[in-house]
């Protein structure tokens, strides 16, 4: 058994720094590269792309990113694990094989994890009495059955472990938990078993620290953001994992950013609920047991993590079509910038009401004054300019479109010192709402395919 393995984070979401994974592979030693592409809504975006073109539905950046890295990956025997397969992991795999062809590389083994996409099984599941009730509202899925866009089960680390066992160099999954991408190589290398709850929790915590890319190595750091060196060349985090579950969070030398107890603490708290039960398909991790120790420059030791058995459920992430929305902006300048923007907002709302348009919500925000702080905002002595940002949402697409036509007229028929209407009329776009649910683990089966070409 290796004394430790180095697992590098290469992407924190679809749209992250394109070159980050290449730098992780080329700027220092690593054994594994994990690339997380999926946020809650990403699957529905990918599903829409697949509907337009059946060969799409995965993170389109991914094959190119891997193509560029391939010679280095093969030479250094770095294994890549990613959930960038989205709703079409097989098409993603084939695109990567084409990249290998282009690079003249033979004998590449790629593993694919399938089975998470239950969009075509919904009716069969409902017929079995599995209601897929919304975890927030308790409403049954049948209420929105005819509007479902995507439905995916969150698998954990074990299907990836199986692909690693079968010798896959690159593993492409659909909706796998972000943490499972990091936990899997630890299970594989250190021989952890399904009941090693503390170890599985330790690997899950490491995964939580890596899953958001640079957010644990100095990015988006509120503690003392000015103290973070060279964010332009931020080094993404690396977990040095040990067989006893101890992990050291670090980054490559000669990169920017910062790994400190404070940056790691902020990431530990990101998007969590009850810290005593961070639930994954692999285990329940207790975040109140985690201990941290700065043990060197850009080196934070994470240890003593406690875990408990997993629940009998997988989480399902479904999405459904829920009407339309449009958002537009206008800029108002000194003097009285805020008052002008507020007057324009009132005029626009009067015109929308006169037209008899129906919306579920109209939201006006005054960017530069209160768009983030809402009622907490304080009034500065003089505001140089304010961006009026107004959005509408509703079921009637025509009404949303008409709203878009009412914004520009404010330029010649509203308060003065107005500009910033270069983008054209706001067009209605689909609102895709999120539907979280639970499903008994026995109702779905992951399917692992490993192929060499």
């Amino acid at each position: 058994m290796k004394q430790h393995i180095r697992i590098a984070s290469g992407q924190g979401f679809w749209g992250d720094l394109i070159d980050a994974p290449y730098h992780q592979v080329t700027r220092g030693p690593i054994d594994y590269l994990m690339m997380d592409f999926l946020a809650e809504v990403t699957m529905s975006i990918m599903q829409k792309q697949k509907l337009r073109d059946p060969s799409l539905g995965y993170a389109r950046d991914l094959p190119g990113q891997i193509g560029r890295m391939l010679p280095h990956i093969m030479e250094k025997n770095v294994r890549v694990i990613t959930n960038g397969g989205g709703v079409n992991p097989l098409a993603c795999r084939d695109a990567i094989f084409r990249e290998a062809d282009k690079a003249g590389i033979r004998g590449l083994r790629i593993g694919v994890v399938l089975g998470d996409n239950i969009l075509d099984d919904i009716d069969a599941l409902l017929a079995q009495g599995i209601e897929l009730r919304n975890m927030e509202t308790d409403a049954p899925l049948r209420d929105i059955r005819d509007r479902i866009v995507s439905a995916n089960v969150y698998f954990g680390a074990w299907p990836i472990v199986e692909a690693l066992r079968q010798g896959a160099q690159i593993i492409i999954t659909g909706r796998t938990t972000d943490t499972g991408l990091t936990l899997a190589p630890m299970i594989h290398e250190f021989g952890w078993t399904e009941n090693d709850w503390d170890l599985l929790a330790a690997g899950t915590v490491a995964g939580h620290i890596l899953e958001c890319g640079g957010q644990s190595s100095g990015g988006n750091f509120l503690g003392d953001w000015k103290s973070v060196p060279d964010l332009a060349h931020i080094g993404f985090p690396i977990a040095e994992a040990h067989p006893d579950g101890t992990v050291v969070i670090t980054k490559h030398e000669n990169t920017g950013g910062l790994v400190s107890e404070a940056t790691v603490k902020e990431q530990l708290l990101y998007e969590i609920g009850d810290p005593t039960e961070y639930i994954t398909p692999d285990c329940i991790a207790d975040f109140t047991s985690i201990r941290l120790r700065q043990e060197g420059e850009n080196r934070v030791r994470v240890f003593d993590v406690k875990g408990r058995p997993y629940t009998p459920f997988y989480k399902v992430s479904a999405s459904y079509h829920d009407g339309y929305s449009a958002t537009g902006t206008l800029t108002y300048a000194w003097p009285d910038a805020l008052e002008k923007a507020q007057a324009a907002d009132a005029i626009l709302r009067t015109r929308l009401a006169d037209l008899g348009l129906e919306f579920e919500e109209i939201l006006s925000e005054f960017v530069g004054h209160s768009s983030c702080l809402g009622p907490l905002a304080t009034m500065p002595a003089e505001i140089n300019e304010v961006l009026l940002r107004i959005g509408v949402r509703g079921k009637n697409k025509e009404h949303i479109a008409r709203f878009g036509q009412e914004l520009a007229p404010l330029i010649l028929t509203g308060p003065p010192s107005v500009t910033g209407f270069a983008g054209g009329r706001p067009k209605p776009s689909d609102v895709i709402a999120y539907w979280p649910a639970l499903i008994p683990k026995a109702a779905v089966t992951p399917n692992v395919i490993v192929e060499e070409r």
Partner: protein, 113 residues
């Protein structure tokens, strides 16, 4: 003992994100000795009042003494959640800053330990 009014940002840092229509705000003491102040000052009621007009649901508080931090869940805060919300900050990324604007009275001696 002399009390001094400070903003929370002087003794804490924070990170926030979304969980559906709820926002999560993790608040971390900048030094261990400030954690008891967070425990005492950042009550559920106080945080609920602070976010009046922003958070329209219940506030939950969780303690992480191991890292000197508290985690808050602010229900019904994001205008329907990430993809539905019309808000500029649909994912609650700036709720952390908003939390740190809170003013609290603390024993001045604690600041310069």
């Amino acid at each position: 003992m002399s009390l001094r009014r400070i903003r929370l940002i002087e003794i804490a840092h924070a990170r926030s994100g979304d969980k559906g229509d709820a926002g999560n705000v993790g608040v971390i003491a900048r030094d261990e000795r400030f954690y008891p102040i967070l425990l005492k000052e950042l009550t559920v009621d106080r945080v609920k009042r602070h976010f009046e007009g922003i958070c329209f649901g219940a506030v939950e508080r969780f303690e992480l003494p191991n890292i000197g931090a508290l985690n808050f869940i602010l229900h019904n805060t994001l205008g329907g959640g990430g993809t539905v919300s019309l808000k500029n900050d649909a994912q609650g990324k700036t709720l952390s800053s908003a939390m740190l604007r809170m003013e609290i009275d603390i024993d001045e001696e604690l600041l310069y330990d």
